[in-house]
């Protein structure tokens, strides 16, 4: 046996092997296509598989796939323009149908774009913004609002429970979009709203509103502070007056009582002999005459009585 022939034989075997045997990955499902036409059942079990050399293998992902829509600008029912970004999960359920209708994933994505975008646009434009943002179990305790600005907002109804809310809205979108999926061989698992935002001009408006709100709250705080401070100082003034006048009153009473007592004592003592008191007291006052006083006496004053003679009647 010539070695060369062995090698050539090996090569030929390899080529045949390559043409008749293929590997199906865990992640894939496949259809055998013969001269452009699908043959046989869908192969979904992974492993080593056989086919005829003139047959081709079309592989499709078996896994759950991601779809991410473009950010679209949609007006809500209340004419607020918002930017909506949705995502969805889908699967190639029927590769045969899939192959026939969209051929490959790129085709599928284009169709998904159209269908889901259109459904989302319809739903969003017929729904109020609050319904899109809030969920079914939205509840607010009006009496317990921490943010004082909320009570003043008249563009909002805080109490109103959403008819659908976010989750149910997403489910409704899913139901509607699903209707068109079977003919594509696609199973739509879910559609979710990833992002919702205002468009720039509306965002600026909202931000300005938020700023104005905060400023008015700040003003309120400052005014409260001033008011309360004035109140306290006013109270203080009143109390000060009370204290002062009370004290003055008491002091006067004490003085008055003392004066009365003194007068009584004097009266009692001096009243025993008023004439003598007058004499005695007057003598006392003479003691105040001093070096800056000038005294004018008559020559027949008592003091001079004995100046000229020694005996006087």
């Amino acid at each position: 046996m010539k070695p060369m022939i062995l090698v050539i034989l090996l090569v030929v075997l390899a080529v045949i092997f390559n043409a008749c045997v293929f590997v199906l990955d865990e992640a894939d499902q496949a259809i055998i296509v013969q001269f452009g036409e699908p043959r046989g059942d869908i192969i979904s079990e992974p492993g080593l598989k056989l086919k005829l050399p003139w047959q081709q293998v079309r592989r499709f992902d078996k896994r759950l796939l991601n779809w991410d829509g473009d950010v679209t600008q949609i007006p809500t029912l209340g004419r607020e323009f918002i930017l909506v970004d949705t995502t969805a999960r889908w699967r190639i359920e029927d590769p045969l149908q899939f192959l026939r209708s969209v051929r490959d994933e790129r085709g599928a994505r284009t169709r998904l774009d159209d269908i889901i975008d259109s459904v989302v646009r319809d739903m969003v434009s017929s729904t109020e913004l609050e319904e899109i943002i809030r969920s079914q179990d939205w509840s607010v305790d009006i009496g317990d609002l921490e943010d004082p600005a909320l009570a003043d907002r008249d563009d909002l109804d805080l109490q109103q429970k959403p008819k659908l809310g976010r989750e149910l809205l997403e489910q409704e979108i899913l139901q509607r979009a699903r209707r068109l999926m079977p003919e594509l061989g696609i199973a739509l698992n879910d559609v979710r709203i990833k992002r919702v935002n205002y468009i720039d001009s509306v965002r600026r408006q909202v931000e300005n509103r938020m700023i104005a709100e905060r400023q008015s709250i700040a003003e309120r705080f400052r005014a409260e502070g001033q008011g309360r401070a004035q109140e306290i100082l006013g109270e203080m003034g009143r109390e000060l007056q009370t204290i002062q006048s009370e004290a003055a009153r008491q002091a006067e009473e004490i003085r008055g009582r003392a004066d009365a007592e003194a007068t009584r004592i004097y009266g009692q003592a001096f009243g025993a002999d008023p004439e003598f008191y007058s004499f005695f007291r007057t003598l006392e006052t003479y003691r105040t005459l001093g070096s800056n006083s000038t005294l004018m006496l008559r020559s027949d004053s008592d003091f001079f009585r004995y100046l000229e003679r020694s005996q006087v009647e």
């Binding site: 590997v23 992640a27 909320l150 000060l240 003392a258 007592e261 004097y266 003479y286």
Partner: protein, 341 residues
């Protein structure tokens, strides 16, 4: 040995090659064959072993079909690509950041990207206000086969779902709630919902925590929010200062009041005591006077005059029939007494 003849006139390839090697053509062929076999064997050996690191597990596929998961260590597999290995880090805690990015550790401190990632972080609250929310999702891959084969892009899906869930949870709350007391609830609710959805996809991911980082009003509005805090503090400050003044003035006034009263009491005591003193002195003198009235009266009178007259500046005596007075005593030592006729 017969030399094989070739069509090309007497020389053959094997013959030439053999002559090069210095051996027979058959031996040469065998050598080439052996070399190829050796190469194949070596290549086979190289691809027949693989290592799994401690934080990983390996998913082994044979002819494309998953057959087993292997633990850390050195393992054997069928070579030549028959067995394929996919390494999955199942023991490591992985994280996804939203609204910000960590950019490595510099000098012991974590550095953050300067970009804002506002697309991820800005969202609407239930009262239609805008809020800026950053968060981190920490998760582990707890089923490597599911992680690889249930979804094509499990990590990207996790990110999309995380954003969707956070927006739903935040959108169902008031803005003031989210900024303050709602943080813990949002984290827990967010984690549970994300896990529920990822389980629904059977993605093989276990979400450990959802942690909120910065939760603030959007940048344009932040100064106004700060102003509210400052105003609140200003209010407290004004009230405190007024109270402080009260606490100073009232005690002072009370002290003053006590002093006023004490002064009055002092006056009272002094007044009464003086009265008592004076009147008792008078009564004593009176008693003496009543014993000997004439004498006492004269005595008192003369004593008084005796005391005061020397000190009086000028005494003028007027006689009945005289018009101008006579100075009696001269107390002004600097002046010579004037005698008037």
């Amino acid at each position: 040995m017969n030399k094989p003849t070739s069509i090309r006139g007497g020389r053959s390839m094997e013959g030439d090659f053999a002559q090069l090697l210095g051996g027979s053509p058959r031996k040469a062929g065998l050598l080439i064959f052996a070399a190829i076999i050796a190469l194949i064997v070596v290549w086979g050996l190289l691809t027949a072993f693989y290592t799994v690191q401690p934080e990983e597990r390996a998913v082994v596929k044979r002819f494309g079909a998953v057959i087993t998961i292997t633990d850390p260590g050195l393992h054997f597999r069928l070579p030549f690509g028959i067995d394929q290995i996919q390494l999955v880090a199942t023991e490591r805690v992985l994280k996804q950041e939203f609204g910000f990015r960590t950019e490595g550790v510099r000098a012991g401190r974590t550095g953050y990207s300067a970009k804002a990632f506002e697309d991820e972080s800005l969202m609407l609250t239930g009262d239609l206000n805008i809020i800026d929310l950053e968060w981190v999702v920490q998760y582990r891959i707890n089923d490597p086969i599911k992680f690889l084969y249930a979804m094509r892009e499990p990590t990207q899906t996790l990110r999309d779902i995380s954003e969707s869930v956070m927006r739903r949870v935040v959108g169902n709350r008031l803005g003031s709630d989210v900024l303050t007391v709602g943080r813990v609830e949002i984290q827990l609710l967010g984690r549970d919902e994300m896990q529920q959805i990822m389980d629904h996809y059977d993605a093989g991911i276990h979400i450990i925590t959802v942690e909120l980082q910065d939760v603030v009003p959007p940048p344009a509005v932040q100064p106004a929010f700060n102003e509210v805090n400052e105003a609140r503090q200003e209010r407290e400050r004004m009230i405190n200062e007024a109270q402080k003044r009260v606490n100073q003035e009232i005690p002072r006034a009370e002290g003053q009041a006590l002093r006023t009263i004490a002064e009055a009491q002092g006056y009272a005591t002094e007044r009464v005591n003086r009265a008592l003193g004076e009147s008792s002195r008078f009564s004593a003198v009176l008693a003496e006077y009543q014993q000997a009235p004439e004498v006492t009266r004269s005595r008192l009178y003369l004593e008084t005059l005796h005391e005061i007259l020397p000190n009086i500046g000028q005494i003028l005596v007027v006689q009945d029939d005289q018009l101008s007075p006579l100075p009696l005593l001269n107390l002004d030592r600097n002046r010579a007494p004037e005698v008037q006729p």
